[in-house]
């Protein structure tokens, strides 16, 4: 099929004429539709504006084959927002111009505000307070609803809890293993280079053991989980908010704290320590491999010396911390998820804030733990 028959070249034409009675005129022909005008729009608008300045000019539109709102609006503007005095128009085009009135004002843009920075600061403080209030409210609701549920343990959402453990725990084994192993290797490699210069090779076991089990394992796993599961939880709740699924649950009398939040919080509280134990072991294996490579420390020696080098309290501290991290991540994810408004931007912003807040809070709480338990787990 020849393309030209489908998409013919369209050209709107504009020609200045002089009428028999000596008055100036302008003749328009061709299609005056947006698609035809658009490539030459600025040019045409300037020409029309020029013609429009003379209000007595005669406008002859009888040669116009087609005209749409954009074309008509362009002419209307050239005429200064009213109908030209001398106008010849095809009858079928009459209706197009009938709908135009005087240009309508848009709401005026807000004026500049000298106190804007102060106002912004105030708004931020208030937002923070609002978040804190909502968070406390949420935790309170969760505790009350859970307390009521404990009297009927059969109603606990067991399936959802187990699904949550699987999603946040089992499915995260791969990524935590990879990151844990590599961190173990890097830490062990760099430390052994330093220790070698002092001839303190054997202390690599103490160094790795304490740092991985007490600090790095829990924090690394928590950061990965916050990024991986925290964002997923926020997005899930957010979309459910947008699609009114949460409202549907509420009117059915199913409190979403119990059905949606509790499984997430309990699931993460259970899967986090398990994940941390896994990350710790893989990181230690990584460190062990690097120590053997760099220092020639045998695996056997490493494993037999480890329990003596690292008091068991460190392990309990690490695992205990991770339970707190898990609960914190899930609560923060739910908090932000439930505050999402029905638009795409809010969903993106909410997910980002959820992850950033969760990671920040994990590190803050970790620091608090370090101060509180500074006398635990050392010799």
């Amino acid at each position: 099929m020849p393309q030209s028959s489908v998409l013919p070249r369209l050209e709107a034409q504009l020609r200045s004429t002089s009428r028999p009675d000596g008055a100036a005129g302008v003749e328009l022909s061709g299609p005056w539709i947006l698609r035809a005008l658009e490539p030459e729009l600025a040019n045409l608008a300037a020409q029309l504006g020029e013609f429009g300045r003379d209000f007595n000019r005669h406008w002859d539109l009888s040669g116009v084959t087609r005209i749409d709102h954009a074309g008509a609006m362009l002419l209307w503007r050239a005429w200064g927002g009213r109908r030209a005095r001398n106008l010849t128009l095809r009858p079928e085009h009459e209706a197009l111009f009938a709908g135009f009135g005087a240009p309508r004002p848009l709401a005026p843009p807000p004026g500049r505000d000298g106190l804007a920075p102060l106002r912004m600061l105030g708004a931020q403080v208030l937002t923070f307070a609002e978040h804190a209030r909502h968070f406390v409210q949420l935790v309170g609701r969760l505790v009350i609803d859970t307390g009521r549920l404990l009297r009927h343990p059969r109603n606990l959402p067991w399936v959802e809890i187990s699904a949550s453990i699987y999603r946040t725990g089992a499915q995260a084994l791969g990524i935590t293993a990879l990151v844990g192993f590599l961190v173990g290797v890097v830490l062990s490699y760099l430390s052994s280079q330093q220790l070698k210069t002092f001839g303190a090779d054997i202390f690599i076991i103490n160094l790795l053991g304490v740092s991985v089990i007490r600090e790095l394992g829990p924090v690394l796993a928590a950061i990965l989980v916050a990024g991986r599961s925290g964002s997923a939880m926020t997005a899930q709740l957010g979309v459910m908010c947008v699609t009114e699924e949460l409202d549907a649950m509420t009117v059915m009398g199913i409190p979403h704290t119990v059905r949606l939040m509790l499984p997430k919080v309990l699931g993460l509280a259970i899967s986090m320590p398990l994940l941390v134990a896994w990350t710790d072991s893989i990181a230690l294996i990584g460190g062990m491999v690097a120590a053997k490579w760099e220092l020639g420390l045998s695996y056997n020696l490493f494993l037999t010396r480890l329990p003596d080098a690292v008091p068991i309290a460190n392990l309990w501290l690490g695992l205990g911390k991770s339970v707190v991290f898990g609960i914190l991540i899930a609560l923060i994810a739910c908090h932000f998820g439930l505050r999402i408004e029905p638009n795409t931007e809010s969903l993106g912003a909410g997910t980002t804030s959820s992850v950033v807040t969760a990671i920040t809070m994990v590190i803050v709480v970790d620091a608090a733990f370090a101060v509180m338990f500074r006398n635990v787990g050392s010799f």
Binding site: M1, L34, E38, P39, A45, H69, M73, A107
Partner: protein
């Protein structure tokens, strides 16, 4: 002159896994007509509409719009025809991050040649045309009622002065008064701009008021195409249920009365 036939669907098959939705569907839609697609739920009306917009690719067969095949043409050519149609989605599909004004202005701004003053006049005119006052122009889509979302979406669909308009359930969720003015608006536009309209609808009143022709999708194919009069007298099981049911009769009666007056 351009071809009379604006949309051609030739031997179209759609299959999702084992499930066949369309079996050898053929349809031709002429310039300037209003064609309604009707059919039961799940009969593939919306799928067919989406295939006409190039959003979905049929398993077999071809869809040509403005004479351009949506399956076998260069991306450039398809891009060019995309500016010539407007689509009103069932849920409106307004960009939730943009205000009402910016939603309607977006397609015009994308042209990159229209100056902001003209865009402003055009957007406000289009919004006025669908009955949205200027004070709502700065609102966000989330703050609008369902009916307003639909009207803003129509204004956006009309922003580029399309020759072809796809409407997916245009009056679903509108109150009767708004449906009525919506129908009148489409009628006026259709006369003023020689618009071609393809619409999927369940609303018998809209269907009867607007359609020049009706295509009935049933049992995976188009069982009848024709004017309303031809369709109503068709004895096909689905059609007689659709139009001869209590609601159908009432709607047809109203039309008949209006004609007598």
């Amino acid at each position: 002159m351009e071809k009379r036939c604006l949309i051609e669907v030739n031997g179209l098959w759609t299959q999702f896994g084992e499930h066949i939705v369309h079996r050898d569907v053929n349809l031709a839609i002429d310039r300037g007509e209003v064609l309604s697609l009707v059919g039961g739920s799940g009969s593939g009306k919306t799928t067919l509409l989406r295939q006409m917009m190039g959003l979905e690719i049929p398993s077999q067969g071809e869809v040509k719009v403005f004479g351009v095949s949506l399956q076998h043409s260069a991306p450039d050519e398809i891009q060019r025809i995309r500016n010539r149609w407007g689509v009103l989605f069932q849920q409106g599909a307004l960009f939730s991050a943009l205000s009402v004004y910016d939603n309607v202005a977006l397609p015009l701004r994308e042209l990159r040649t229209v100056d902001e003053d003209l865009i402003r006049d055009l957007v406000l005119f289009k919004l006025g045309m669908v009955g949205i006052e200027a004070e709502h122009a700065t609102k966000m889509p989330a703050d609008l009622s369902g009916g307003m979302v639909k009207r803003v979406a129509l204004a956006r669909a009309l922003a580029l002065e399309p020759e072809l308009l796809f409407l997916d359930e245009p009056t679903a969720g509108l109150d009767p008064d708004r449906s009525e003015s919506f129908v009148r608006l489409i009628e006026d536009l259709q006369h003023e701009l020689e618009l071609t309209v393809v619409m999927v609808t369940h609303d018998l009143d809209t269907l009867i008021a607007l359609s020049n022709r009706v295509a009935v999708l049933c049992d995976q194919r188009i069982v009848a195409v024709g004017t309303l009069r031809e369709i109503v007298t068709n004895s096909h099981r689905f059609i007689s249920n659709f139009f001869q049911g209590e609601r159908g009769k009432r709607a047809l009666m109203a039309v008949a009365e209006a004609l007598v007056k």
